[in-house]
Structure formats: structure tokens, C-alpha cells
């Protein structure tokens, strides 16, 4: 039963190698989906191209439903799957900074790296900006430690907070996703920019 890392005990470097292979696969998929184009990515914010929403939301609900089916069939032990810890205010602040960086820079970290791999100069500048941000965070960490480590909620799941079973939550999320896809299609028609879309 998965996860794979619980089936066989691999040395640290082998685990890192697997992560690198998955990362390359992920980056390749991003590039093939057209996510190395900043105009396509920021189209999400202007409404003329909502591929980002459709691709990532589809990936999230397929992964969620798939892992729950695998868990039910005994193929994946969900208790061994890492759940990220939740810090309320730092997560909101980080989300705002990330969103601003996304709309200003035209990439998110993953798509930025995918764009670097095909030689895009704007992505290299974007990546340098990301590194600068990480450097500033590391250097100022002692000053913002209280905020950064505060409002800790532990590795909570949304369905627990809402008092729903995992299956019911997944069902509701899928309904929400399908509604968002419909809304996204409407937005694409409403804010259509054929001049940009033809170039992407």
C-alpha cells in the first residue's frame, strides 16, 4: 500500500532524485499546456484566458477524488500522506504577496521555472525577483518570527473544519469546480482578447 516512500526505505538522495524526476515531469507538462507564456497566465486575472483555473482546479479535484478512491480500495494509506500545517495570517499574507507577484511578474514559481527552461528572459528576471524575496524573508525572519509562526492551526483539513466527511467535501468541491469552469467560459467570452489569444 502507498505512499511509495512508506513501502521501501530509500536513502535521502534517492528520495530527492524521485522529487527531481517528478519536478521535471511537472515542468514539462506546464510548458506543454502553454503555461510558459506570461500572457496566458495573467489572462486569468483579466478574464480573457482561464486555462490556469481550469487546469489546476481539474488537477486538484482529480487528485483529491483519486486519492480517496485509492484510500478506500486500500491502495493508499491517507494517514501517511503529509498534510501541510496551517498558519492563518501568514498564509493569507503569503497568498496576497504571491498573487501580486503573479499578476505583476506574469508567472508563478513553477511556471516561471518552466519558462526559464525554454530561455525566456522575463522569466529569468522573475526568478531573480523570487530569489531576492526569499533572501529578504530569510534575513528578516528574526524580526517577523512572531508573525510567521503565529496563528498556528496544525495540519487541519478543510472538511474537518466544516464538519463534513471527506467524501461529501469532495463532492461539493467538484460541484464548485464545475460551476467555476462554467463561469470561466462565460468570462472568456465576455473579456475576449483575440489579438492576445492568437499570439499565445
Amino acid at each position: 500500500m502507498g505512499p511509495v516512500s512508506s513501502l521501501i526505505s530509500l536513502p535521502g538522495w534517492a528520495n530527492m532524485l524521485i522529487a527531481v524526476a517528478i519536478g521535471i515531469g511537472f515542468g514539462f507538462s506546464l510548458e506543454q499546456a502553454g503555461f510558459s507564456s506570461s500572457r496566458k497566465l495573467v489572462g486569468m486575472f483579466y478574464g480573457y484566458d482561464t486555462t490556469v483555473l481550469k487546469v489546476f482546479f481539474t488537477a486538484a479535484i482529480v487528485a483529491l477524488a483519486g486519492s480517496q478512491f485509492m484510500g478506500y480500495l486500500g491502495l493508499l494509506d491517507l494517514t501517511k500522506v503529509f498534510v501541510n500545517e496551517y498558519y492563518v495570517l501568514p498564509a493569507i499574507t503569503g497568498g496576497v504577496i504571491m498573487g501580486l507577484g503573479f499578476v505583476v511578474g506574469g508567472f508563478c514559481p513553477g511556471t516561471g521555472l518552466a519558462a526559464i527552461s525554454i530561455g525566456k528572459i522575463d522569466a529569468m528576471v522573475f526568478f531573480f525577483g523570487g530569489l531576492t524575496g526569499a533572501f529578504i524573508f530569510a534575513e528578516t525572519y528574526p524580526l517577523i518570527k512572531g508573525f510567521s509562526d503565529g496563528t498556528y492551526k496544525g495540519p487541519v483539513r478543510i472538511n474537518e473544519t466544516l464538519g463534513l466527511s471527506p467524501g461529501v467535501f469532495t463532492f461539493l468541491l467538484i460541484i464548485a469546480a464545475v460551476f467555476m469552469f462554467w463561469l470561466a467560459e462565460k468570462a472568456e467570452k465576455r473579456f475576449s482578447r483575440p489579438d492576445i489569444s492568437a499570439d499565445i
Binding site: I61, Q68, L78, I174, F181
Partner: protein, 203 residues
């Protein structure tokens, strides 16, 4: 049919199936690890055998005992009013099925202090802040309460009060331990924890 509509139907159908499937419900521990650790080191969270004897002799409704030993041990020497949830099952079970929320005190006990200490931290992490453990476990309880005897001589009023609660709780405990298995099962079933009944209301 439009492939997007087809995909949406497949996803919604999969979601519906998941909604009706009895999926395993895993719970996450909340609260800062540092805070949980410092809370667990708080000496006031350890209940002494005498304190517990007093609660039992006064029939305190706000305490809730959880025996973490195996069922066989619990059947032989279970403290009156306790529910049995073997330690290895506490993360598998829905905590609301064996713990009380609110002001009630959940007191864990086992043969020693190790597992009850862990169980107490888990319960606190799950949001049951009023969690405690019986210091010294069932062995300390037996030594202090069950085996207590009057050795003669003059005792102070405080010692007398302590002795009385020990005797009263000890009698109840020994009576339960000496019941034949059939009656003991009946007693334990009658005591079975049902949180819904404790919710109050005007029934």
C-alpha cells in the same frame, strides 16, 4: 456530447460516489506542538488516586474515565464508570464517541503513566482541552484505594475524610471486580458511553 460536459458528468458522478462511500475519517491534531508540550508538563494535569477516589465517592458527573488497557485487563480490573478504549484504537475511533467535550474532565488511565500521557496530549490536540491522566495508573489506584485498610490509632479529620472516600470508592471498585463476568458485561453495557444522551435537552 461536448467533451467538457462529459468530463463534468464523470467528475460529479465520482464525487457523488465518494459522498456515499464510508471513507475512513482521519483527524488532525490542532494546536501548537510547543503549547501542547508545555501543557503536558503541567503537573496539575495529573490526577492522584485519592482525587479520583473522591470524585467517584461523590459520584461526580463531570468526570469521564477512559481505560486504555486491553479489553481483557479492563474486564478484570476496570474502575467503576470507565469506558474501555485500547490505546492503539484511540486514533482510529471518532473521539466524540468516547470523550466528553466542554467542561467535563476526561481522565485517561492505564497500567502506568506513559500511554495515558500520550493519550492526554492527543485528546488536547483534538480539542478536548479538559484532559487529564491518572498518575501511577491502575497499580497506584489499587495500592492507594483498593487495598486501603484502617490500621487503628488516631487520625485527623482530613485523614478521616481521605480514608472515607478511599473506602467508598474501593468498595465500589472491588464489588465491580468481583462480579461474575455475565453481570459485569451487563453493568458495563448499562454504563456504555453515549454522548448523544449527554447533550441535554428537555426529553
Amino acid at each position: 456530447m461536448n467533451p467538457r460536459i462529459r468530463l463534468s458528468i464523470i467528475l460529479i458522478s465520482a464525487g457523488f460516489v465518494l459522498a456515499v462511500l464510508p471513507l475512513k475519517y482521519t483527524r488532525s491534531l490542532g494546536g501548537s506542538p510547543a503549547k501542547l508540550l508545555s501543557a503536558s508538563l503541567n503537573d496539575s494535569l495529573a490526577i492522584s488516586a485519592d482525587q479520583l477516589a473522591r470524585f467517584i465517592s461523590l459520584e461526580d458527573k463531570d468526570i469521564h474515565l477512559v481505560d486504555l488497557r486491553d479489553k481483557a485487563d479492563f474486564m478484570i480490573t476496570g474502575i467503576p464508570g470507565a469506558v474501555n478504549v485500547p490505546y492503539h484504537e484511540i486514533l482510529e475511533k471518532d473521539p466524540s464517541s468516547f470523550l466528553l467535550a466542554g467542561n467535563a474532565r476526561n481522565i485517561f488511565y492505564s497500567s502506568d503513566d506513559l500511554q495515558p500521557g500520550y493519550a492526554m496530549i492527543i485528546a488536547m490536540g483534538l480539542g478536548y482541552r479538559n484532559s487529564y491522566f491518572l498518575r501511577g495508573g491502575i497499580n497506584e489506584w489499587t495500592r492507594v484505594v483498593s487495598d486501603t485498610i484502617y490500621r487503628g490509632g488516631t487520625i485527623t479529620a482530613r485523614e478521616n475524610a481521605l480514608f472515607e472516600s478511599r473506602i467508598k470508592a474501593g468498595r465500589l471498585y472491588n464489588k465491580l471486580c468481583n462480579l461474575p463476568d455475565s453481570l459485569k458485561i451487563k453493568y458495563l453495557n448499562a454504563m456504555k458511553f453515549n454522548p448523544k444522551k449527554l447533550d441535554g435537552g428537555c426529553e
